[in-house]
Amino acid sequence: MEGLNYICSSYSLLPESYRGVDKVCLRVPELEKQILGQRLRRAGHLSKMAAISATACLKNGPENINKNKVGLFHGSAVGNAPEATRAFQESLDDENPMPSPFNFANSITFMTNFHVAQMTGIRGPGSLVSQEAFSFELALECALNHRQIASCEYALVGGSDSLAEPRESDLARFHCSEETMMGEGSSWLLLGRNKAEACAEVLDLGFLRNMDDHHEIRSLKTIVEKLRGEEKLSLMPGINVSQEFINDCLLNLKCKSFSYLQQTGYSLTAAAAAIPIACSQMRGDLVIHLSRCYKGNLSYFVFKIGNDDCES
């Protein structure tokens, strides 16, 4: 059985303005009507973003796929932050601790997967990974691990996170400076087993744990050399990767750098947007994406973008 390495379509729902946290919020009602064809009354903000983005991704993919055999793998580090914050405050009210059922139900991050499954009609295996800065990468790895699972012919893989208000609370929570451009959004890939349907291909994904910069660069060089052909190599540095490390990569890997965080803002699942952005802007390239968790461990995934159209 072929692996689930082929990217059949991708889609990103991203902020239009980084300072204006509410820009995605403002567009959601319109996108619900436009993409979903209905309002999602019981869904929280993150669930709405994820359902819109996942539905658009699936619509861009191959026709007539068996939705009973599409898996759903989602990474979200903080979940439905606005509703969870309200449920938290309502539960700790000394006089009458009683969260609204809407806020409580949406404070359970997995409810996002329910709304995505409901709107897309998919019914395969799936999971929700909540592992801080590696939530998306691990969700992608969980999907790739379904290589031998026959009930998973395709896999929708996404990364989504939402911002709480006030903005200052998120800055403090993630130890970000006042200048940090925070972001929220939801990005999805549809992975399949058929190369003929693919516009890109995931070639490798891994984690370098407890290494110093020197050993990390050496490892990355070995990984890239094995995969590199005639194509251009591009580096997409994700969150928590220092400029100094990027410079070392450029020098040692002999590649150009493409900074996409200006388009996503800082979010723990920003990495999910890398492939959709690359698909629309870096055709024909071999791309390596890097990001770090708070402990300093490095994640990488390498993918190759085809030359054909790839909706994103």
Partner: protein, 395 residues
């Protein structure tokens, strides 16, 4: 041939106290540990009945304790170098939430105006626990609501099957906090007198809290013998008699907080789990249901069971014993169920006397002792995440 997995060691902290034996003793005696939610968590003044650990320890201390139990339970304790290549898979809904709530309350008592949800996100607990034992493999926190720890087990099995790791520490962790207790109360899902699985007088769930941990490896009787390990690491271990197969997990989408009323989805998942390991319903010796005591959920599961086992099957639920510990429930129930099998019985369905569901089969009135063979275990959750697991007990 399907990949078979085994548990090298296990531990649990439950309302019966610390360890598998404490839980088995309580269950064997038919004890229901239902108590009033302590005042530290309950600011409502109302009586809320739950099954608590009654421990004041920090969540990290509890996590370390249950991991040590699992390591000490191993016939051959994993070496340091084995642990360095071991992954950690945690199923949890609440993770650090109680700690975050306590800090928030403390700051308010000190006259501060703290930001809500100011702590790190849910995966940090797993990272800290992995660091405590120098685990060098992947660290993955799974949140699929009440089926979280079963999903963590499933993902761990796939990592092992794909050859990315040789062993995994799988955990279920959930302790009660205000948001969960009052959230379930706001949905009017809590029972005033505890859980009565499948019973005519069932009126809701009985919240609980638990932590559980297992060391999971490929069975040395399955395809692709685990390399580098001695052949007897499972012999003499209490869970060496249990073969675990890859569970069947599925997202459905009938309702965000309930199963479909006709039981079609639960029936489909159970059937698929059995088909995936080529076991017919006739070969199932007992079923551990999800059985939360909720009106709709139990009805749906019972109808699905009655269709799959029209002639009946020894049926139980552990929710009145252990309470429903949300994301930890699946793994805690699995290890306690296996510990009961090791003691020679499938527990009776405590809290059940007569059902009003149609079609239906009877649940167990007494402990059942014909335990050798295949068992089917159901784990369902909010957001329509359904999973069924088949195990073979060779004792």
């Amino acid at each position: 041939m399907n990949q078979v997995f085994q548990i090298r060691g296990a531990g649990v902290l439950s309302c019966y106290g610390s360890g598998l034996q404490a839980a088995v003793n309580g269950i064997n005696n038919g004890e229901c540990r239902l108590n009033l939610l302590n005042s530290q968590l309950n600011s409502s003044g109302e009586d809320i009945w739950v099954s608590q650990l009654n421990r004041e320890d920090d969540i990290d201390q509890l996590g370390v304790e249950v991991i040590n139990q699992a390591l000490n339970h191993c016939q051959v304790r994993p070496t340091e170098s084995e642990l360095q290549k071991c992954g950690l898979f945690v199923g949890t809904v609440s993770s650090d939430s109680r700690k975050v709530e306590m800090e928030y309350r403390q700051k308010r008592l000190q006259g501060e105006d703290p930001a809500p949800l100011c702590g790190p996100s849910g995966g940090r607990l797993a990272t800290r626990l992995a660091d405590s034992f120098s685990l060098g493999g992947p660290v993955v926190t799974i949140n699929t609501a009440c089926s979280s720890s079963l999903n963590a087990l499933y993902q761990a099995m796939l990592y092992i099957q794909e050859g990315k790791i040789e062993r995994a520490l799988v955990m279920g962790i959930d302790v009660l906090n205000a948001m969960v207790v009052f959230g379930f109360r706001s949905l009017m899902l809590l029972s005033d007198d505890g859980c009565h699985p499948f019973d005519a007088k069932r009126a809701g769930i009985q919240l609980g809290e638990s932590l559980s941990a297992i060391i999971l490896e490929k069975s040395n009787t399955s395809q692709g013998v685990s390399s580098g390990d001695s052949e007897n690491i499972f012999s003499g271990n209490s869970f060496g008699n249990a073969d675990l197969y890859l569970p069947y997990c599925r997202n459905t989408h009938s309702h965000p907080t309930a199963l479909d009323p006709e039981g079609f989805e639960a029936n489909e998942v159970m059937k698929a789990a059995l088909e995936s390991v080529s076991v017919s319903p006739d070969n199932i010796v007992a079923v551990k249901a999800h059985g939360t005591g909720s009106r709709e959920g139990d009805a749906s599961e019972m109808i699905a069971l009655a269709r799959l086992f029209p002639d009946g099957v020894p049926l139980t639920s552990l929710k009145r014993y252990l309470g429903h510990s949300m994301g930890a429930a699946a793994l805690s129930e699995l290890v306690v169920y296996l510990a009961c099998l090791e003691s020679g019985f499938v527990p009776k369905c405590l809290g059940y006397s007569q059902t009003d569901i149609s079609p239906s089969i009877d649940a167990l009135y007494e402990h059942f002792t014909g335990i050798g063979g295949y068992h089917l275990l159901n784990f369902f959750g909010f957001g329509s995440s359904l999973s069924s697991l088949v195990i073979k007990w060779k004792g």
